[in-house]
Symmetry: C2
């Protein structure tokens, strides 16, 4: 036996699924995994954003995506993707960059982000938010794993507020809200890199106001990261003020196990008739 | 006298200030006006976004910026600016494009937007929002025009909720909220093109929680347009959940005179110590 043998722990599903490698100057390659797709086979938008941000991070010196925005163009397919990174600005506090994600026949999404260092933020602090009122973990509803669920659902351990699951049995609550407890199914702890994914991990809030479930694609997703999450469960709440001809915002808060608001998120989504 | 003489009304301040002309294929020129600057001489971010979107609109067939996001890189100066437009996608419902705004020594901001047609939106509708509770117009506080105000303030008729103006006399309210009535000072009626400007037109919400006023630059601004505003006053409310080392979101709602939520807005801003 080799005294120097080291058994590396297997990469988490998230780290393996969003892995990227540098193949040229400011050009990266990733593999869009079928393990992160939603109904219909399209990869989860937050997953794609998290992958693109790993490439961006590799070109910058600042660690944290303070704000990142994806504009989704066409549906990604499972398989290789190239990510070109353009650095727009390198400042003392902030670095701004754009990632262009493309597959064989064209661009699939564009991600623009401002990176900074949360640990170096020295401006004023004021706290005006309360953690969401979500029932205790053991009163919340886990996904029924014995039915045919899209692969992305199995990547998470989600426990939804029981008041928000009526759509599962064709009894939508009538309020565009979805809240619950959230963590990775494989035990990987949350971090800043995973927050854009968690921002898109719960079922659409529109499910609680639609007569029947329909595809609710994300057109644009913006995630503001405010703090590095602590170890443990996250609590998330997503809400919309209203749907106008299907268009609606989905506003999210992500709170960590130490009652800190770690991210605020918003997406523009479209519920189809 | 020429029977065919037509006296065109003078362009509104907004239309004149955001005018752009096409100077080459997908290249436009605008003039950043000193009339839209804030304290310190920097142009208002919403103004720059509105100008960039006029160039984008000129390259597209869809009329409405359903979502538009600016990433601000370096401060624009008053004077000419070139706006390069890249069209990323032209679909049946949506067109996505990027505007790169540059002046002599480099890029100043990048605007990414998805245009569509609100009048053609045929998805489901659900209304879950209430107009903000703002006191009647005659109980709200107009800007004191006899003091030295930055030029942009004079472009608007703003009437702030009296509960939110304590910062003017060094008595901040202690809640990061700013609400009021808003319209153009020259009587121009609101429209979709002006909503990104209105999204950035009130004083920073941070003024109501800071010990002393400081510069609060916008790093990123995203505006979701939900409806074409009716003629008349707008009511706006902006709030933040909290400042962490200075970083905070500023979430806005813009309501029209017919009690319709016409835009939801969010910016990432940084309050300096």
């Amino acid at each position: 036996m080799d005294d120097h043998a080291v058994t590396l722990p297997p990469a988490s599903e998230f780290d393996a699924g969003t892995a990227v490698e540098r193949i040229a100057d400011r050009r990266w390659r990733g593999d869009v995994s079928p393990d992160w797709t939603v109904f219909g086979g399209a990869p989860n938008g937050g997953y794609l954003q998290a992958m693109a941000l790993r490439a961006v991070r590799g070109e910058l010196t600042k660690p944290h995506p303070l704000t990142s925005t994806s504009h989704f163009l066409t549906t990604c397919e499972s398989g290789p993707a190239e990510i070109d990174v353009e650095v727009l600005r390198t400042g003392r506090r902030h670095e701004t960059a754009v990632a262009t994600v493309h597959q064989a026949d064209g661009e699939r999404l564009r991600v623009t982000a401002i990176f900074g260092d949360l640990d170096a933020a020295d401006g004023p602090t004021w706290d005006g938010a309360e953690p969401p009122a979500i029932p205790p973990l053991d009163e919340c509803i886990a996904a029924p794993l014995d039915i045919d669920l899209p692969p992305v659902v199995r990547r998470f351990d989600v426990r939804l507020n029981p008041a928000h699951v009526g759509w599962l049995v064709n009894q939508p609550s009538g309020r565009a809200e979805m809240a619950g407890w959230l963590r990775f199914a494989d035990g990987r702890e949350p971090d800043v890199a995973a927050l854009p994914l968690f921002a898109d991990a719960l079922p659409p809030v529109a499910f609680n106001v639609l007569d029947r479930l329909s595809w609710v694609p994300t057109l644009e997703l913006t995630v503001h990261v405010r703090a590095r999450p602590a170890t443990g469960w996250l609590r998330c709440v997503f809400r919309s003020r209203g749907l106008v001809g299907g268009y609606h915002e989905e506003d999210g808060e992500i709170w960590d196990a130490e009652d800190r608001l770690v991210a605020v998120t918003r997406q523009l989504a479209l519920a189809r008739s």
